[in-house]
Amino acid sequence: MSTRQFGARVERNIDPKLLRGEGAFVDDIPLPDALHVAFLRSPHARARIVSIDASAAKRHPGVAAIYTSDDIGTLDVEMPLLIPHPSMKNPKTQRPLARGDVHYVGQTVAMVVAVDRYTAEDAAALIEVEYEPLPLEMDLAKALTDDAPLVHADVPNNLAAHFIQTSGNPDDAFARAEHVTKITVQVDRSTAAPMECRAVAARWDAVSGELTVWDGTQAPISVRGGLASVFELDEDKVRVIAPDVGGGFGQKVLLFYPDELLVPMAAMRLGRPVKYIEDRRENFLGSSQERTQIHTIELAALRTGEVIGLRDFFLHDTGAFIPYGIAVAQVASTSIAGPYRIPNIFVEFKAVYTPTVQVTPYRGCGRPQACFALERAMDQLAEELGLDRFEIRRRNLIAEKEFPYEREGLLFADGLKVTLDSGQYGKALAMAAAELGAESFAAEQAKARAEGRYLGLGLACYVEGTGLGPYEGGHVKIHPITGKVYVNTGLSTQGQGHDTVFAQIVADQLGVSPQDVIVVEGDTKAFDWGVATFASRAAVVSGNAIHKTALTVRKKVIEAAANMLDVDPDQIELRDSAAWVKGSNRFAPLAAIATASNPLRYAFNKAAQAATQFARASKHDGPPLADGQAPGLEATDYYSPSQSTWAYGVHGAIIEVDPGLCTVKIRKYVCIHDCGNMINPMIVEGQVLGGIAQGIGGALYEHLDYQADGNLANASLMDFLVPYATEIPNVSILHLETPTPLNPLGVKGVGEAGCIAVGAVVASGVEDALRPFGALKFHQVPLSPNMISYALETAGY
């Protein structure tokens, strides 16, 4: 291959399989004689369990076992606190099955294992639980008061964590300020709603002592470690496979969900495969959610619009448990100054327990909230200072020559100081203005208003720290029979297209087509070491690890080929799955080189004859494998980033509001983004567009309606409004490519980027559209027709 694959719009290797319905998700794994699981879940948000009577359920035909907290032995303990942090005083995690109290509607109380899911659900309905309901408080601010009902009896004020970070000298900045603006904004509770819900199946092989678990997880290696620890097995005796997974968005990176422990336990105890396929209702009730934060943000500015200081205090809803630590709030607090210089920052948050399912990162992970707070404040500041919204941003964006730009005192989710590494922020803003037609928009807006149509321009900038460590690895091996290249890494894919971008990286180094690179990930038997898929990190961390590994294999190929073809290594070039002597028609196929690199006793095929001890090509001085040599064309290497690399972008939209019906139409949506070098622009666009669609969900539609009693009123896809294709406008995506200096490929993450700015853009545009009705304020998303109606009503319309 002479064309470079890195940067090309290579079609996704995985698509034919998925489009033909040939994907194999957990529920597709054939497990003869499997038993099926249903959970009995708490109908109360706060209650004490007085008694559980499962006797009738146990007698139900087809039931294999019923487990309550009394029946699960050593598993009846609080599950791990994954990311400890000193800001948490008494961090609470959940037990697999409730003991004593229940803390949210949907918490698992008992597990039924039966011949099929129907029977399991029938039996679950027969379990009689007596609850003594307890008082509860759903409101974040009220939950912090002294007399509020407690989610956990031993956590006063429901305060899960309290943390302050300071950069520069904010008090001095506010003292010097010529203008201060202050707003309170809120982003509401939402959920990832992956197309495939979570799923776990397990098989215990009593003969070999091996436990195999199929888990639609983003973190198979971490799950393996956890299971080995819980069941006291060697890690090599536990195999965790994340097969095809239908979307994760962070929801599938938590470990453990109760089922991830209890399904393997049941398989081991019952000696039969056991399967749990979460249904949509359970996904709404029992799988992690995110988003609710209430920020009160102040900007200290000079009259020029230069922002010299920022103060932000926010409440963060962490649900009833905090297994993922303060990650979401920490990312929000360290993203709070966005792409702007703002040298003096004070940011404080309180994470609050509420009687709801736990909050863990969901695509964006605190960034949409921080972006919404900052960008809405920037809009307000511009208005108060009489500045154009583009202009005030232009005056504050970090300039290219200022990189790396450090925020001393702010520690990001990797525990390292926030250091924005590279970018062309100003250029991105200018591109957005041009693509939106910002210059001529005022005239267009005036013309539309004359026709009774209300158009507004919305704008927001964002940054995203991506590619967190600690590390990932890569394994590259050229197959001796086919010459195809096998690649492994430890993290797993949920449909992003890893298999294609990793293949592109390898294809360039080994001179093969990306279709001949077979990427296998998400199987702990395929690769032993690694972390997980989260924080927009796969391309950055695994991508660079695989790149480093491919370089090593390339070197081996060239040396072996030079030996076979009897030329100097610098005379070898790799293309078309072969090593060529430059400027000649002499070549050796990769398969032959791979075969020859493996000294053989037995000639099982024609190529292998060349690798046996009496063949000419295997004449060596000394042993067939020299000291330090390994057979085959294979290598393993790792990449550990020195710090996160910061992607960024500018989003803008032209939005039309119908004041009569209070509906919002996005007429035009523009996204300028920069994730460094793009491995595959088509996949990048898919990621960005998907993120924007999810962001539109968060901006206008998706809202979990918790009632005052803690019940979720819209736990279905009929009532939780995921936008359809009909709600997603055409988006014009323009790329900037500023290579990061931090890694060999110059890449930054892009998985979460799309969703971050959308809420701020939409609210900004709606405000602008409705200006003829007065200075209506939209400080909360999702922004519903009801809110628009209320704002108009308040303004006298």
């Binding site: 949509r280 209702r281 009569g660 409004l721 359809y724 009909t726 709600e727 027709p785 009801n786």
Partner: protein
Amino acid sequence: MKPSLFGYQAPASIEEAISILAGDPDAVVLAGGQTLLPAMNFRAANPSTLVDIQHVADLRGIEVGTEIIIVKAMTRHREFELDAAVARVNPLVAEVMQHVAHVPIRNRGTVVGSLCHADPSAEMPMLLVLLGGSVIAQGPSGRREIAAEDFFQSFLTTARERDEIITEARFPVLPKGAGWAFDEVTRRHGDYAIAGVGCVLSLDDRGRASRVQLAACGIADTPVRLKEAENILTGTTLGASDLDAAVAASGAAVTQPDEIHVSHTYRRRALGTLIRRIVTMAAQRATQMETA
């Protein structure tokens, strides 16, 4: 989300179907299943037996007469929507149909099933009420015709007896020269209406409304014929002040209580906007029909 145990019967005749219903108080008719089956999966509906009427003879098809369109019980939404003969005599049908859920649901769901479900936010019940149509109910004691306004009694409740099957719905054709329009406001395309308004009107040769039919969905526990507004508008040129008066007279028809995302005020605002726009659109079409 698996249904509890239920029986299934697929009778070949209407009499057989009725006798199964009469003999089992918890048996339920299955037609397109687009509402019933999800409800069963949520265990919100737990019928003892599903009486699948898709094999019952003579429950399929659409008959377009000079005054009435007969839609048989197993007719899918999509058939009604795309029927060319229906479009000629009642173009409002296709306009309304575009708002009924999504194509895959319209491919399976039935018109009569939607009427029997009687969701007050749904479009089909409103259409039947707007047009002044009726349904034919057949039970152990024979057939009876029930006018639309008597059929829809309250939220998800109709005048159908539980051992009756609605064998057909009867939608009147539009009067010659009439203008028509329908629109609704929803959160997403295809969702149930927050408010929806349909109108059929005729103009006399001086441009005055000689006859106005106006109905709404989403605003009360049944679809609502907005009779006060009809009376106010009849005889007028449908100018701004006439519309203002019609809107003002319709506010009281909004009886749905506040919901989290839809306040009473918002619903009234939306209803008023829709009445103005829909009546105006219907009048424009009536004018075009005249000049054509």
